[in-house]
Symmetry: C2
Subunit: 162 residues, 2 copies
C-alpha cells in the first residue's frame, strides 16, 4: 500500500515548548490558552465554526520519533498495547484533542484547555457534536483507565516518550 500523504492546514501555538512537564490530557490543560493559525488560503473553511464551543483537533505529533507496540502510559505502572493508550509513540504520529474555542479573528482561532506542544502542525478540525455518536453514557467501558483516569487532571508528562 502506498504512503498516505497530508499537508499541514495551519500551526498550533501553545505555552508548552517541551514534551516534559505538559498536561497529559485536555482535562489537565484546563484554562491553558493557545492559538491556531490557519493557512491564509484555507480560512474560508472556518465559516460558521464560531457557533461551536468545542473543536476536535487532529494533528501531527511532530516530535514523536518511532513507536512501541507496548507502552507504560503516564497513568499506569503496567504495560498496555499502544492502541489501548493515548501514548504518542504510535505507528502513525496522529494526535487528537478536544479543545474549547474562545473566539475566531480572521484566520486565527483562540482556544483553551490545551494539552498540545507548541508549533504542532494541524491536520484537520472537526466540530465537536457528541449527539452524532449516539453513545449512551451507561454503555461505556474504559478498560484499564477505570481506576486511573481520576489522576489525569493533575499529572504532568515525564521524559518517557521523548
Amino acid at each position: 500500500m502506498p504512503k498516505i500523504e497530508f499537508n499541514s492546514i495551519g500551526m498550533i501555538y501553545s505555552p508548552f515548548k517541551n514534551l516534559k512537564g505538559m498536561p497529559i490530557q485536555p482535562i489537565g490543560g484546563e484554562g491553558v490558552k493557545g492559538e491556531i493559525h490557519i493557512n491564509e488560503g484555507l480560512k474560508n473553511g472556518l465559516k460558521d465554526l464560531n457557533g461551536f464551543s468545542h473543536l476536535i483537533l487532529i494533528y501531527y505529533l511532530h516530535k514523536s520519533k518511532g513507536f512501541s507496540l507496548e507502552v507504560t502510559p503516564f497513568l499506569d505502572n503496567n504495560t498496555h498495547g499502544v492502541f489501548a493508550t493515548r501514548s504518542p509513540k504510535r505507528p502513525n504520529s496522529v494526535g487528537l484533542s478536544i479543545v474549547k474555542l474562545d473566539s475566531i479573528e480572521d484566520n486565527i482561532l483562540y482556544i483553551s484547555n490545551m494539552d498540545i506542544l507548541d508549533e504542532t502542525p494541524l491536520l484537520d478540525i472537526k466540530p465537536y457534536v457528541p449527539q452524532l455518536n449516539g453513545i449512551k453514557n451507561d454503555s461505556i467501558k474504559i478498560g484499564w483507565f477505570e481506576e486511573k483516569h481520576f489522576s489525569a487532571k493533575d499529572k504532568l508528562s515525564d521524559a518517557r516518550f521523548i
Copy 2:
C-alpha cells in the same frame, strides 16, 4: 513545510461498498457490523484493548477526491465552512468515527455502529475515554447542528461528495 506521511495500520471492512446510501454518522449506523484487520506485525499493540466498549478510529477517506472550503452538508440546505462540518471533502482526507467494539480475535476487531466505507485504510485507534476531556455537557454549543442533528440518525448519504 514537507508532506506528512502515514502508513495504513490495517483495513476496515464494512457492508458499505458505495459512497451513496451510507449512514452519514455513527448514530445512523447503529447495529451495522464490520471488521478491522490490523496488520500482523502490529497486533501486539492491541493488548488490553478488549476492556473498552468504544474506540476512536482515525482513517483515510480514500475515496474523497479534492476538497471544497464551503460545503452544503447532508443535514442542511445552507453552506458552511468545511471545518464546521463532517463533510469528507476536506483539505486532508482524514475521517473520524467512534464505533462499538464487540470482540477481538487475534488481529481482527469485530465492531458495530459503523458509518465507514468498505476497504478504508485505518491510520490509528485510540480508546474512547470521555472522562479525559473533562467537558461538562451543559457547556457544549453545537452551532448549526443545534436544529439539525436529530435527523442524522435516519439520513443516508447522497451523491454530493462523490
